[in-house]
């Protein structure tokens, strides 16, 4: 009996967490997305009036409609910024993987007494505020900044490069900020790798490069997938990095949402964009997971 209750608690807690901190807020956002803009506190109608009871709920529901979603289809800015977010997040994820993989690989291959220190170095940037680190990149990337001074000093370029306020700066910012999220799962996958498998591969005639692609890389796949998701998903909704490092033509859904919410004071449309964003993110993830599961079944 006690054990059953304990198990219930153990499973129940995360679900309770999900309910309170995800489903309820989502419900509120969804409700606002069906409302209309108004000049009032809060800036939309209808609002939920508890004291009116059942009648209040009925009039609330009759006041809701999907007008805001129709508005979204009529204007291409939302699609454009969503696609542009996907592109920026996708390219950044690939770049982070390219930088993170060798890093994680060399960490996993390092003598075991070094590893805690190396791991520490990866985590160290988290001790400084994210915002300050992004601001620091402004100082590095601006026309009169450290990077340009270095490049001019070395003689690589004659004129300072315009990096700040472009998409390039956004890529640099995302790769830098999210690198630990890629390295850590990769490292944990690579560290577990059984060295004797590589020896076996070489005994069977593989060069070390072939052995890497045939043994190491496939076995590190879970790390690659986990790392890529950890980078890709937050990168899509990223607001701070494109706002500070990107130019005004850097379109990302986070910036569009901000403009809708703050500049336009249009909470209903902003909520509709947020709901759609969530759906558009969840669908590919669910599809991907289904496909993974099927692949695993097939292996069995």
């Amino acid at each position: 009996m006690d054990r059953k209750f304990g198990r219930f608690l153990l499973i129940g807690l995360p679900y309770f967490w999900l309910l309170v901190l995800f489903l309820v807020p989502f419900g509120i956002v969804f409700k606002i997305s069906l409302s209309d803009v108004a000049i009032a506190i809060p800036p939309y109608t209808p609002t939920f009036d508890l004291s009116a009871g059942w009648e209040g709920l009925k009039s609330l529901i009759s006041g809701l409609d999907f007008e805001n979603y129709i508005w979204l289809t009529e204007d291409d800015i939302y699609w454009k910024s969503y696609l542009s977010s996907l592109r920026i997040a996708g390219i950044s994820t690939i770049l982070t993987l390219l930088v993170g993989y060798p890093l994680a690989y060399s960490m996993a291959k390092a003598p075991s007494e070094w590893r805690p220190t190396l791991l520490m170095l990866i985590i160290l940037p988290f001790w400084t505020s994210f915002l300050i680190r992004v601001y620091a990149w402004i100082g590095i990337l601006k026309t009169e900044g450290l990077l340009n001074q270095l490049l001019m000093f070395v003689g690589v370029v004659d004129e300072p490069l315009q990096i700040l306020n472009t998409d390039t700066a956004v890529y640099i910012g995302i790769v830098y900020s999210y690198l630990p999220f890629m390295v850590l799962p990769l490292y944990s996958a690579l560290e577990k790798l059984d060295g004797s498998l590589l020896e076996a591969a070489q005994d069977l005639g593989c060069t070390s490069i072939e052995a890497f692609w045939k043994v190491t890389f496939p076995l590190s796949m879970p790390g690659v997938i986990a790392g890529s998701f950890l980078v890709f998903i937050p990168a899509i909704g990223e607001f701070v990095i494109p706002d500070l490092l990107g130019g005004s033509d850097t379109k990302m859904i986070g910036k569009t949402l901000w403009a809708e919410f703050f500049s336009n004071r249009d909470w209903p449309v902003a909520s509709a964009v947020a709901v759609l964003l969530l759906l558009l993110l969840i669908i590919p993830i669910v599809l991907f997971q289904n496909q993974q599961e099927r692949a695993q079944e097939a292996e069995k």
């Binding site: 000049i39 306020n165 403009a259």
Partner: protein, 365 residues
């Protein structure tokens, strides 16, 4: 080390005081004002004089303030929105009427300002003017001379004529990220009513802005201060006091950068930042005391001398330093005053059109 020890000691004492005063149900006033917009000595002196503790918090855009106010229960007692925003917020029921009997210093208000504020706050019933300013052009004198061959800028032509602005592309151009200020400036340049709420006019402004878009590096409302001062950019459409702060920073840094501010001949936007009390404020009495203190001529003069913005307090003008009251960029002469225009808030429908146009302009497509 000694310094550190001292610092530690003071913070411990301060902490102790904070606790002891908290226990005696301390009088506070929660103020939400623009960043870099007051001489902090004013707050300390107010606390000393009245015993009311000022909890001071800052923002850098009207949008952020408005979102907090419209969400309700902001927790602030005194806030400082600009005119057009104030007007809409009054309509939304965000503010309470000021109790004029508690504002014994309100005779200090300058009629030139209060008359214009009528447009946003009829009868000046909900707010008092804190500061006002213009939206004009800040520029790097040497870089402009090098590229355009002029000593000083006196026309919007430099911004809205693509041929001229193209010459400044390499040295960097910023515009304010404020659709409700840049679109009117474009309309004014086109010879149309800057306060037009007509769709066709907004479209005309959008078309004009699209022609200069390729030469604009960034739309931002606060980064221009340091970017101009450091010589990272050579031109920015910005708020008078911000550009003047940038001018001072460059002069102090002695980095060879000279920044100037111009109110162009065609005229510019005159805006007002108004102090008001939210309807749900918890310390209404203290809020009135704070506002009444700000209305004092010596206090307002001190604030303006510090932030380089003009204020709406007539007797304070005698107490202003010469480089504030004598600077036509801060207190324009009467000829220029005639050319300044004011705006009214957009209705929600036209606001959507404006925001849409603005995001198109910003993204350049």
């Amino acid at each position: 080390m000694k310094k550190l020890g001292n610092g530690l000691l003071t913070s411990v004492v301060a902490l102790g005081m904070a606790f002891s005063t908290q226990a005696s149900a301390e009088e506070v006033v929660n103020v939400f004002n623009w960043s870099d917009y007051i001489d902090e000595e004013i707050l300390a002196e107010f606390e000393k004089e009245t015993g009311i503790k000022v909890v001071y918090d800052v923002f850098d855009s009207n949008d952020v303030l408005e979102t907090k106010l419209l969400a309700g229960s902001s927790g602030y007692d005194v806030v400082v929105p600009s005119g057009t925003f104030l007007s809409r917020q009054i309509q939304a029921g965000v503010f309470q009427k000021l109790d004029q009997t508690k504002l014994t210093n309100n005779a200090n208000l300058w009629d030139v300002v209060t008359e214009r504020v009528e447009k946003y706050d009829p009868g000046n019933a909900y707010s008092i003017n804190y500061m006002w300013g213009t939206t004009g052009i800040g520029y790097n004198v040497d870089m402009i001379k090098e590229r355009l061959g002029v000593e000083r800028i006196d026309s919007w032509d430099v911004v809205f004529n693509p041929e001229k602005l193209a010459k400044l592309k390499d040295c960097g151009v910023y515009l304010l990220d404020a659709s409700d200020e840049i679109i009117p400036a474009a309309l004014n340049y086109l010879g149309k009513n800057p306060d037009s709420h007509d769709k066709a006019d907004i479209k005309a402004a959008e078309d004009l802005l699209m022609t200069i878009r390729p030469y604009v590096q960034k739309f931002h409302s606060s980064e221009n201060i340091s970017a101009l001062a450091n010589g990272d950019i050579c031109l920015s459409v910005g708020w008078s006091g911000d550009i003047l702060q940038s001018r001072d920073r460059a002069a102090e840094a002695d980095n060879g950068v000279t920044v100037e501010y111009a109110i162009p001949n065609e005229g510019a936007l005159m805006w007002f930042d108004q102090m008001a009390i939210p309807a749900d404020a918890g310390n209404v009495d203290n809020a009135h005391k704070f506002i009444n203190y700000i209305l004092r001529d010596d206090v307002m003069a001190k604030a303006s001398n510090y932030v380089y913005y003009a204020n709406g307090n007539l007797p304070s003008q005698k107490l202003l330093e010469e480089d504030v009251i004598g600077d036509p960029a801060i207190y324009p002469d009467s000829g220029t005053m005639q050319k300044l225009y004011t705006l009214t808030p957009y209705e929600p429908k036209i606001q959507r059109v404006v925001t849409r146009a603005w995001s198109k302009i910003k993204s350049g497509s």
